[in-house]
């Protein structure tokens, strides 16, 4: 393939990925509202369009039509920059998530991933850590005590949970012997899903993922009762929409990561034994990936509307005294497994 072709193919992938992401985010908000309503025996949005399906667009228009307010006390460049950092990180992370096996189309071999990086997992870890800059900047530059507290909490939380997250992944890497997401997926052939092989690692990773995405029960950076809106208290209109978008995009990435690392990625156990055609297999596998991600997203929301927020000291306790030791136990467990069966 020439360089030109590579660029074109990458651009097409990027456009598809971004559009898909944006649409998903829009409908995630819709489903978030629906699921919260269902959990509370309500109906949820049902006025805009058929069963309220146009609600996300109404929400977006409303947000964009609002006045963009920048507080006098704010540091204006950083205040403007912050949501873009958050957005950039969210979108950039998406680049390394594989949604299916390599396919052969129009005479090209194409990996169903924007960038097939051989250190993909490291890349994701690095970028998600960058995401905290967006939030911390937003908190500091707003010139509001609530925002600042939100920002500070966020960075502390990120650091605490990144540790156990990293150790959980270490278990996965021990098994796959690669940092490339595609390899990791391939290493979970059959029922050898990491979630089954190393359940403790799975749990610590999922919990850390909740914390990293600032979702309930770990949404302390934006805890409404105490911090108004947390780091985005002083944001409105498009910039607020930016944070909103980033939060949901992060959720998608977290789900994708969970699926990729622990739930076998696009794999359907022993599908190759059924002797189906290549195209159908590929489509089924993409479908499998998407349904696994959708389930994880549902799980995110489900948890949000079931479990109350932790107190800050509880959060730190859990992070350092429970999650961290557990992830260490997990590494030992994986090491023992490798010693025994390899």
């Amino acid at each position: 393939m020439s360089l030109f072709e590579i660029i074109i193919i990458s651009l097409i992938k990027i456009v598809i990925a971004v559009v898909a992401l944006l649409l998903t985010v829009a409908y995630l908000v819709y489903f978030e509202r629906k699921i919260s309503a269902w959990a509370q025996n309500r109906i949820g949005p049902n006025r805009v369009g058929f069963h309220g399906l146009l609600q996300p667009f109404a929400d977006v228009f409303k947000l964009l039509l609002k006045e963009d307010i920048v507080p006098d006390a704010a540091n204006k460049p950083l205040h403007t920059l912050a949501p873009f950092i958050a957005l950039f990180v969210a979108f950039a992370t998406y680049a390394v998530i594989p949604i299916g096996p390599a396919i052969h189309i129009f005479g090209y071999d194409i990996n169903l991933v924007v960038a097939d990086v051989n250190i993909g997992v490291l890349y994701v870890l690095a970028l998600t850590s960058l995401g905290v800059y967006g939030i911390t900047f937003a908190g500091w530059s707003s010139g509001s005590k609530y925002s600042l507290l939100g920002g500070v909490r966020s960075s502390a939380q990120m650091i605490s949970y990144e540790v156990s997250m990293g150790f959980s992944i270490a278990g996965v890497l021990l098994l796959s012997e690669s940092l490339r997401p595609i390899d990791i997926v391939n290493s979970q052939y059959g029922w050898m899903w990491n979630a089954i092989v190393q359940p403790i690692g799975f749990i610590t990773f999922v919990v850390s993922a909740f914390a990293e995405t600032n979702r309930l029960p770990f949404d302390l950076p934006e805890a409404e009762p105490e911090l108004v809106g947390g780091y985005h208290t002083e944001y409105s209109s498009f910039k607020f929409a930016g944070f909103f978008l980033a939060e949901y995009a992060n959720m998608i990435i977290a789900s994708c990561m969970i699926v990729t690392l622990y739930l076998g990625g696009w794999q359907i156990p022993y599908i190759d034994k059924l002797g189906l055609g290549v195209t159908i297999t590929t489509l089924l596998q993409i479908g499998a990936f998407i349904s696994k991600v959708v389930f994880m997203l549902f799980f995110f929301m489900w948890v949000r509307w079931s479990i109350p927020r932790f107190r800050y000291d509880q959060l730190m306790n859990l992070g350092w005294k429970v999650m961290f030791p557990l992830s260490l136990v997990n590494i030992v467990w994986v090491a023992v497994l490798i010693m025994l069966f390899n």
Partner: protein, 164 residues
């Protein structure tokens, strides 16, 4: 700060916590499939019970005369100063009647003090909760809007007789 000790120790399963989270999740999941309680408001309307305190109205007897004698007690007791009464003389036995009776629905806080203080059971809280206006002037309800036939208020009057 005083630390409150639990009266009972947690069981082992509660201590694991994961199991309890699972139970919580199942609870919300179960609720997702239960019938919905939402009323589709403009199409379906809530009919309040007799104890409901909607907008205050004046009771009008079947002969067309209002019960109110314009004593002004509701106006005096109103903590939000929503009520203005102007009395005048009438040939009827009650001597006084309200020439003007206005309730500013922007001020009203639906506390029901007016109803409680009224010596004539002339002002009562209705079931009407649909109060919409687009300017301050419209929000001031005069006698025309306040007078309500006694038949329509039977529920509330009975309730008052029982519990007031």
């Amino acid at each position: 700060m005083t630390v409150k000790k639990r009266t009972e120790d947690l069981t082992f399963f509660q201590k694991i916590y994961v199991a309890e989270i699972g139970r919580g999740l199942m609870l919300t999941l179960k609720n997702m499939f239960r019938p919905k309680v939402t009323m589709q408001y403009p199409e379906v309307k809530f009919i309040p019970p007799a104890s409901y305190r909607g907008r205050p109205v004046l009771v009008q007897e079947n002969n067309g005369v209002e019960r109110c004698v314009a004593c002004g007690l509701c106006s005096r007791v109103c903590p939000a100063l929503a009520i203005e009464v102007q009395a005048s003389e009438t040939e009827l036995e009650k001597e006084r009647y309200p020439e003007k009776f206005e309730i500013n629905m922007l001020r009203c806080i639906f506390c029901g003090f007016c109803e409680e203080v009224c010596p004539e059971e002339a002002i009562v809280m209705s079931k009407d909760y649909e109060l919409v206006f687009t300017n301050r002037e419209d929000a001031i309800y005069d006698k025309d809007k306040l007078l309500t036939s006694v038949d329509k208020l039977k529920d509330r009057l009975e309730f008052l007789r029982k519990f007031k």
